[in-house]
Symmetry: C2
Subunit: 367 residues, 2 copies
């Protein structure tokens, strides 16, 4: 069985990080009959530079057809002035929407070797292992109207619409509950039901879904602002957090930063299982952005991208042993004190992107 | 000249905290010709219990007529099931909206005596002094449509609308720039212009307002998710942060928690200066909530409420010396190691709400 991967390295440090994943894929194909077939396309600013779109129709078709998409990062000051419709992020948002990748899984884990790198006190983050399940195809990201209206008299009006339907909340809640069962069996749902009607509905539907099908899982509700606080105060209280697109964007970034391992955190964006084949469309990307300031210098940390590929092995190809092995390789390399600049610490050896990729591959091969 | 204060203690620990402010007002009237006249009303769950509304028309009129409103806190599990329109928060939201309190000032300062109480490493928060300027009468809190629609087939749709007009952004940006001039002269504006049209407009209008009238102030733009990260990573990089209603809600809670002083942080919500008198409507409230779990036990920390009164002295009555003195009294009491349970530390003396209020009043009287 072949496994098709479509690679979209994107902008900034995306291509450098992706190159390290490509080495791992090549190794798996050669030494382990990995059976991966890869294609590659353009997304974000680099796509805009090439053909004036944040992603081309042809690359969209390839992404649609692939078993999984590996995505680097998009954006940078170079494209700050391009029209809204073709800004770099539009490519990513279109992929999420058209592939119906409604479930964004963002683990916030603290690698033991990096507990000191967190801005939080080590005892608060050591062993931290949260999974943020963010709704990714709805909410204020896609709701209509979304426009700027000219009101005359020099006045404009910016409008965005937050919309959630019952089925959208149900399916993301179900994903969260299912994943909780494989973990500590606890879900915390976050919204602003005291201010938003979509939050009221969110709260109701999560509650009903829980009652109907997942009453064995422990469920808690928290206002999203209080949730942000609690993440900073005592992050280890959480197991799975389920929340909407915008709150998920904010909260997962805060959670990522807590771990001190921002350059290390992967994410998976999954669609619904296909009725016939059971396959789900999927895209894997680092939580970090395109980091234009360090792009092209060979110093970017490729770990988040590699760890995203590990998630791909796990969720798209059910290659659980290989995923475990790749994650273990990352942890071991960190334990050996090999570090990129962003996670450098006393007594460690600082390396560049390529050496970090080499070290992980070597470790992976030896496990 | 009399100064009229309208007190709305609200729910949970609100009344206990307010009682400590009342002692300070009484002292100032008696010993210093403070000239305060106080009235008192009901808001939130306690108002609902009394007359089925989150605030009565008569209390709204009194709030409108007062020079300043002192607000405690609202909400609690007791009222979780009341209809959306009369939930406790509706009282607060109506006050903000009808009094046109568009500018919410939320200082996030780290009291030196409490640097260890932060979950962040002390060196990251020692001396922290951020001012979050949050837009308070617009955005997704008030935009229409805001509704739950029954779509049939067991499907509902929750809708909220984020709306910002040019003038709303201009006036809040101006407040931020003006306040920055009295501080470190730096403003960071946060939005999600890469996803939201209101964010695009926000960014443009802040940029234009800066160019037109405040080019002496240093201005930076940051995406709100990155802003949440940076608050956790290196909060001292910020001076004034200006942002919309919902992002401000989230970010100010994160910032408050960083300081380790959540029970200590005040806020001011200000309207525009009146064309004739120059007076601005104002409401002062702690950043913390109603803390129903500890309500009625006499253990709540009254400092945020007292510090909110200090902001009232400063912004509504231009009593700068008295405001400074009250803030100094709070800092001195903390330096003496007097602590409520929430900020208790080794070697300190734990006291209840009333003793803390007494200690601050005594210190205030002695300065
Ligand atoms: C790049 C941007 C559109 C995106 C988002 O807001 O979702 C990013 O911040 C993320 O979290 O994946
Ligand atoms: C009580 C609630 C409506 C309020 C808000 O969301 O604005 C609170 O969280 C705040 O920050 O003042």
């Amino acid at each position: 069985m072949t496994k098709s991967l479509f690679l979209l390295p994107g902008d900034g440090i995306g291509p450098e990080a992706m190159a390290e994943v490509r080495k791992i894929i090549a190794y798996m194909n050669e030494k382990q009959d990995g059976g991966f077939i890869t294609g590659e396309g353009l997304v974000g600013g680099s796509a805009y530079d090439a053909h004036g779109q944040a992603i081309s129709e042809s690359d969209m078709s390839k992404a649609m057809a692939a078993d999984a998409v590996l995505f680097g990062a998009v954006g940078g000051p170079k494209w700050d002035a391009v029209p809204y419709e073709v800004r770099p992020e539009a490519g990513l948002l279109r992929l999420r929407k058209d592939l119906e990748l409604f479930a964004n899984l963002r683990p916030a884990i603290c690698y033991p070797a990096l507990a000191d790198a967190s801005s939080l006190k080590p005892e608060l983050v050591e062993g931290l292992d949260i999974l943020i399940v963010r709704e990714l195809t709805g909410g204020v990201y896609f709701g209509e109207p979304k426009e700027i209206i000219d009101l005359g008299n020099g006045q404009k009006r910016g409008v965005d619409t937050q919309v959630y339907d019952t089925y959208e909340i149900e399916r993301i809640a179900s994903v969260a509950f299912e994943l909780a069962r494989t973990r500590k069996n606890r879900v915390c749902s976050m919204e602003k039901r005291n201010v938003m009607k979509s939050g009221v509905l969110w709260n109701q539907v999560v509650t009903e879904t829980h009652k109907r099908s997942f009453s064995d899982v422990q469920l808690e509700h928290m206002l999203a602002d209080a949730g942000g606080m609690q993440l900073v105060r005592a992050p280890k209280q959480f197991d799975v957090i389920v929340t909407d697109n915008l709150f998920g964007d904010m909260l997962s970034d805060v959670a990522a930063m807590l771990t001190g391992s921002l350059g290390m955190l992967p994410s998976a964006s999954l669609g619904a299982p296909d009725g016939k084949t059971g396959k789900r469309k999927a895209l894997y990307e680092p939580v970090h952005g395109s980091a234009p300031d360090i792009a092209g210098k060979g110093v970017a940390n490729p770990i988040a991208m590699i760890a995203s590929f590990a998630m791909c092995l796990r969720y798209s190809f059910n290659m659980v042993a290989e995923a475990d092995r790749l994650e273990k390789a990352i942890a071991n390399v960190l334990d050996k004190g090999i570090r990129t600049g962003d996670i450098m610490a006393d007594g460690c050896r600082q390396v560049g992107t390529v050496e970090m990729g080499d070290a992980i591959l070597e470790e992976f091969a030896s496990l």
